[in-house]
Symmetry: C2
Subunit: 176 residues, 2 copies
DNA sequence: TCCACTGGGTTCGATGAATGAACCGACCAT
DNA sequence: ATGGTCGGTTCATTCATCGAACCCAGTGGA
């Protein structure tokens, strides 16, 4: 979308939200951030996004307060992009989009299954744990590989995501 | 987004969902459809979308099975675009985006408040009723004007949306 | 010292979409 | 016949995206 200047007449909060996260690639960057991706090169290899677009999106999301950029090592200086509280609040959006795609688009095998880490029950349609009778924050969600997942992907990020993991837990690709 | 040809490597259901509803304007069209907008000219005046883009989006959403186009009068022949079951299943996505925008973007007064018609409780982020602990179909959602709503809008669609209404209830603008 | 390599970008030309205005055709109403 | 409405399509211009190439600081090896 045109950055911050369009949907001009729309003061509706849906339109305002789409100004921030409605551009091409943006929600996939956020999705990857939930999966634990934090580094420029990891987003790049996992998404197949053009470098220039990724740089633009990371900057826009940072300015919007969805991500924070922070230094995780000096010498050489390296920054990582991490979801803020506001970014983590996008979990219902990401979850409901994924659920819709799985249920309403033809030929979609579930790639990943999201369960309540405390009890192992798959999340319900409104992000709740049907067994514990409670809402579940993304920190308490465990992501497990589903039947649609490629068992031997090419890029290191997808390989690191083959095992069950907590959402938001930082991804270790080559840093061992 | 590039229509149907990109995000090519992403078989993830989130990416597939974004192929369908991730383009500019698309989710706003869907939002308006939940509000009861059905006719080309009503989408046009309410959204301020370029005519060519609206035609493209309505066609794409129809091909994707999110909307159906159906004739509501002969002579002159007039068609309307209505959400299908698959389209109505996008309600949690639309709801969560709106709530996120309201809660996490600065200076947003709620324009509309969505409550479970049966009990009057405001909906949660997934479109569920926190009091009844159940999912709420959009048919059972009542939309009420909020404090951020312009009390005297210019276009007839916005005026028709000033009173409390059920979602999906067809909008009467000039057909009286 | 020189060299290659890595991470995280920026720059560039070509392609493709969005925009807004104008046009069009079917169908009324007078 | 004239004018108006509805639901589009066509057009030229502007803007975003794409993919490849380039850049630069730091680091590690010979």
């Amino acid at each position: 979308m045109a950055l911050g200047k369009d949907y001009a007449t729309q003061q509706c909060s849906i339109a305002r939200a789409l100004e921030v996260v409605g551009e091409r690639w943006t929600l996939l960057v956020v999705r990857d951030a939930f999966y634990g991706v934090r580094r420029y090169s990891d987003f790049l290899s996992h998404l197949g996004i053009p470098r220039a677009v990724l740089a633009t999106r990371l900057q826009a999301l940072t300015e919007a307060g969805v991500l924070v950029r922070r230094r995780y090592q000096e010498s050489p200086p390296r920054d990582e992009y991490v979801l803020t509280g506001s970014g983590r609040a996008l979990w219902p959006t990401v979850r409901s989009l994924g659920l819709w795609g799985r249920e309403h688009l033809p030929g979609t095998l579930p790639m990943r299954i999201f369960v309540h880490a405390a009890c192992g029950t798959e999340l319900g349609a409104f992000g709740q744990c049907p067994a514990c009778w409670t809402g579940v924050d993304p920190e308490d969600v465990e992501m497990r590989p589903g039947p649609g997942l490629d068992p031997d992907p090419a890029d290191p990020v997808s390989r690191a995501l083959l095992v069950p993991r907590r959402l938001l837990q930082p991804l270790e690709t080559d840093r061992v």
